[in-house]
């Protein structure tokens, strides 16, 4: 195993990493603005929206959490849904870890925090070619978190205008933004027929959980059911080929 990621962080590499992630980061603007509008409709303050974006820094899971956001706040369901919605980062981290040199314990959480889709995707290719640079990784993450948090704040501030009127927002279809994000990201992730059975199981489990259990556990139950079924499906493949 070759260690290709330098543990040394320089200002120059940090800047280079940040600049190259500006354009991919701008693609987050509509999502971030949509999240800010949706969060404002749920009653979160501008400070809370920005703090959430800075500390959680995981758009889809923040949107999932917003779906559960009702007083009293279901902390266990929020934690479980954020964890499950972010499981892809578990896989990304697992792919990145073999390239990392030994890092001090206090640096590791910062590496985990900036492991987000675009930053990971841009950097992992370099790590695999042996040109990985921790400074670029941190710089890219810094740019992304600034753009993401800024766009959610912008959305929240925009919601203070015409969008603050629930009926106007509804007429404009803005109440659908949160759900639309799930559908659009799912459409992007869709890999064809192999995804259909696990997704069907997830949908059935989510609907059953909503109607049988109630509350907002349907996301976690559906996600786990679909994930487990997909894994079971993958494990069966060799047996199918043999028969």
């Amino acid at each position: 195993m070759s260690v290709s990621l330098s543990a040394r962080v320089t200002w120059r590499s940090f800047q280079a990493g940040a600049w190259r992630m500006v354009l991919p980061g701008l693609a987050l603007l509509p999502f971030g603005i949509g999240f800010g509008v949706a969060a404002a409709q749920k009653g979160l303050s501008a400070f809370e929206v920005t703090l959430m974006s800075l500390t959680v820094f995981a758009g889809t899971s923040q949107m999932v959490a917003l779906d559960l956001w009702a007083q009293p706040l279901p902390l266990a369901a929020l934690a479980a849904s954020v964890f499950v919605a972010n499981l892809r980062y578990f896989v990304m981290g697992a792919a990145l870890q073999p390239h990392l040199p030994p890092l001090p314990w206090y640096v590791q959480p910062a590496v985990w925090h900036v492991t987000v889709d675009q930053n990971w995707a841009v950097n992992i290719a370099e790590y695999r070619r042996g040109h990985g640079d921790l400074g670029k990784f941190f710089g890219g993450g810094f740019a992304m978190v600034c753009i993401w948090s800024g766009s959610t704040l912008l959305g929240h501030l925009a919601a203070g205008g015409v969008l603050a009127d629930p009926m106007a927002a509804r007429r404009l279809g803005l109440d659908f933004v949160g759900v639309a994000v799930f559908v659009v990201v799912a459409a992007i992730l869709f890999r064809g027929r192999r995804d259909l059975p696990p997704w069907a199981v997830a949908i059935a489990a989510a609907l059953a959980a909503k109607w049988l259990i109630g509350g907002n556990w349907y996301i976690v139950i559906g996600g786990l059911a679909g994930g487990l079924f997909g894994a079971w499906q993958e494990m069966r493949k060799p047996h199918v080929r043999k028969s």
């Binding site: 999502f31 989510a206 894994a231």
Partner: protein, 102 residues
Amino acid sequence: MSANPENLIAIFVMALAAMAAKGGGFLAMRWLGRHRFVMACLEHAPGAVLVSAAIVPIVQVGGAYVVGAVVAAIVTRTAGGFTPGLFAAVGAVALARWAGLD
């Protein structure tokens, strides 16, 4: 600048959960091998979470949301991206409501 203590606790819990998911892969790979079942489960879980999160509000609201979801999926796949899909979805819901769907 206002902050509800209960909201702050929830945000803190969410941040910990996100960090656990992000850091889990790094830590797990340090001590564990790549077990096929676990990797397959992790590969399918994100999509399953997304469709689970979407399906309940779509079924509950029906009408305009169904139109919006169909348009979102089609435009995202054909126009190839997040932004066109999102705008098309919101526009489709607005048009559906203007046409009388709830």
